[in-house]
């Protein structure tokens, strides 16, 4: 039967040579190489659950009065959009499961990308010839951050509505053109008109997923064309020879197993752990707000940035050159991403290494890269944690204002210090290994000498 299918396809497409190559394409084997796949499979779950949700979500800002099973909002005025998500959560069978799975999948999708990025960075996988793959990956990350933000903002609940207002504040803070850009996006001042919600919706369900899908395809094609990088885990791996498991039969059940595991974990979370209970938040109004409002985790670094910057607008005469939110909300992420984009070039300049690399470094083998990456991570992480210092006060009784001051200092003192420590640790680990190798060689020589006697 297999023969029949293969013959059918080859006769009509001539693709048997390509299929055979694909079937025996080699996957170097290390657990950290699977992180990208975790992201990919989360994306598949996102698309599947997302399509289901579009069959129920109503993208309308028309006001309705709620009459439904959730008692506290009975008789409350809300948009159709919010109402439709309420219905998905309370009335549609399995609706809440799909909705929560979708939201967990988004959180985990971006977490997996970040872990994958860390692996790529700290092993030097972005070096020639893979810079393009790396840049595309970074772009996918940026687009995913926006995609996730739009996804939970189209619900029009109190928490995400506040987030939209802040996004508006950051957009307005772009020097010179802030208000022009905001006027374009929102069709006027916030909260904008119905157009804005249509734009968010179509961006979230079509434009951005299509963009991510295209970028992902190019990303994977580039990986496949150049073959995956590998660690030098044995004598067979080299810059010329890749050692790995073929697609079939070896890799297929593993990758499929990972797909089912990812989907399984996501659905378990979607059913068992509550996420974004929008019925508790209530619908959004520009004149309402709640304490303890936070963006989803992957934007937490931005709220940290926005809270840490001291209160000043950069003003020249009557012109507000740089309103305050720009620094923490726009400049900070732009600097981080710009640095990541430029890093392959910076590293080449700093180390003088312009060669091809198919072999990966262990982090300790490149102290400079590890130190720089660790310092950047420290910076971003500290700002990220600073963003939840008010809840830290509520839970652990550490006063808020001293925390803010501590983070302001730490955010600039800790990264270089921790980078230096990372550098030193790499050096020490390498030295330790050198000693270990010499010791083993000496032992072997001694044994050989004894055996000869």
């Amino acid at each position: 039967m297999i023969r029949g299918i293969v013959r059918f396809v080859d006769r009509r497409s001539g693709s048997a040579p390509f299929l055979r190559k694909t079937l025996r394409y080699l996957f170097p084997d290390h657990w950290s190489f699977l992180l990208g796949e975790v992201a990919l499979y989360s994306f598949i779950v996102l698309v599947a659950t997302g399509v289901y949700l579009t069959l129920f979500y109503e993208n309308s800002t028309a006001k309705v009065v709620y009459h439904g099973p959730y008692a506290p909002l009975q008789g409350e005025e809300m948009t159709q959009a919010y109402r439709s998500v309420l219905d998905i959560s309370t009335t549609v069978k399995a609706g809440l499961l799909i909705r929560q799975t979708h939201h967990w999948a988004a959180d985990i999708f971006i977490a997996a990308i970040v872990l994958h990025l860390l692996r790529i960075f700290f092993t030097g996988a972005y070096r020639k010839p893979r810079e393009l793959t790396y840049w595309i990956g970074l772009t996918i990350l940026m687009v995913s951050l926006l995609e996730g933000f739009l996804g939970y903002s189209i619900v029009d609940d109190l928490l995400s509505g506040m987030g939209l207002a802040i996004a508006y504040g950051v957009a307005m803070s772009l020097p010179f053109v802030g208000a022009n850009v905001s006027a374009l996006i929102w069709d006027g001042p916030f909260p904008g008109k119905h157009d804005f919600y249509s734009r968010m919706y179509i961006a979230h369900v079509f434009l951005l997923p299509a963009l991510i899908a295209v970028l992902l395809t190019v990303h994977l094609a580039l990986v496949a064309m150049k073959h995956h990088t590998q660690f030098r885990s044995g004598p067979r791996q080299s810059e010329r020879k890749v050692v790995g498991v073929p697609t079939f039969p070896g890799q297929t059940p593993r990758s499929l197993g990972l797909l089912f595991a990812v989907a399984g974990v996501l659905f378990l979370l979607g059913g068992l752990v509550q996420i974004n209970p929008i019925w508790l938040w209530g619908p959004y109004h520009t004149y309402l707000s709640t304490n303890g409002a936070q963006p989803d985790w992957y934007l937490g670094w931005l709220i940290g940035g926005l809270r840490l910057v001291p209160g000043f607008d950069l003003v020249i005469g009557d012109y507000t050159l740089v309103p305050n939110p720009f620094w923490g909300g726009a400049a900070f992420p732009l600097v981080v991403f710009l640095f990541l984009y430029l890093w392959p070039w910076i590293e080449r300049k700093l180390t003088g290494d312009y060669g091809y690399h198919n072999l990966l470094d262990r982090p300790r083998e490149s102290p400079l890269r590890t130190a720089v990456g660790w310092a950047l991570l420290t910076w971003v992480f500290l700002v990220f944690v600073a963003g939840s210092s008010d809840r830290a006060y509520v839970l652990f009784n550490v006063p808020y204002i001293p925390q803010i001051w501590a983070y302001r200092v730490l955010a600039f003192v800790a990264p270089p210090v921790s980078g230096l420590i990372a550098f030193w640790v790499c050096r020490e680990l390498q030295a330790g290994e050198r000693v270990e190798r010499r010791r083993k060689r000496a032992e072997e020589e001694a044994e050989a000498a004894e055996a000869a006697v």
Partner: protein, 330 residues
Amino acid sequence: MGRAKDALISGIVLLLRRRKPRPLGPGERERVVPPAPDNPGWELTAVLLLLAGAACAIAFVVVYVLDRLPAHTQLLGLSLGLSLLFIAAALIVTAHRLIVTEELEDDYPVLEHPEEQELIVQVVEDSGLTRRRLLKLALLTAGGALTAAVLTPIASLGPAVDLVRFYATPWRRGTRLVDEHGKPYKASDIEEDNFYTAFAEGSDKEALPSSLVLVRLPKGSLKLPRELAHYAAEGIVAYSKICTHAGCAISLYRAPLFQPDEPTPALVCPCHYSTFNPADGGTVTFGPAGRKLPMLPLLVAPNGELRAGGNFDQPVGPSWWGVRERKPRT
């Protein structure tokens, strides 16, 4: 679940049994893939895991139909999630125990093709198009102009050129202050130690300039600057409810019970804790806001109603390039 644990342990200890190559029998061809290890025990495990997965999937359908069950979402998630995880475990058992995991070698592709690169360059150069400078220039001009033309309709997305709407407010002298149900506020409604949300009568409540926060400050505690001194009415002051940092609603009022021991009155935003002093015109006393809170002048009508005495002293909402350039207009 014990079997899943077995599969897990088996996965951690990767043991591949090596088989001695045996001579080919009659009618057999040379193998491409080495023979799979013979593991009837593990095969049974995989089968059982798959059956467990099937059972959970069926349970999902049953739970779906029985929608009156308590914790319905949890049962749905549990059944579907476990089904997927059982199948995942079966696949991992298959990968580690039932199929051979080959470690093969291949070449990394050669990525440099200097002759092909040269040929491409030659083809382009031979065509002669690169030498026609005038043509190139004209093409670039046409391309540039067309790109600009095609991008122009983006401007229809919103009033990006004329930002007059960013200064517009629904307030003018005499506009009534109403609550969210449209009922006008009287000055006597506003008590000390409390804060009230008001809107411009007849306006869209969601519009940022429409919402106000009103507080009455004790006599003698008002310290308004000269240009704002007439903005208060009977000790009542009105500020925009929209924070000048990033646009959240200012829904916190710090109203000390016993002044000597406690922080002073303040309007605070819950997003990044920008703190504004209502007694001196809304200056920022803490937090990242870079601009004071816009203040609305108040007057008390003969019938006791609170009315606007004019427009805000500054535009409302988050700052932008021109926020200090012009005054708000009705």
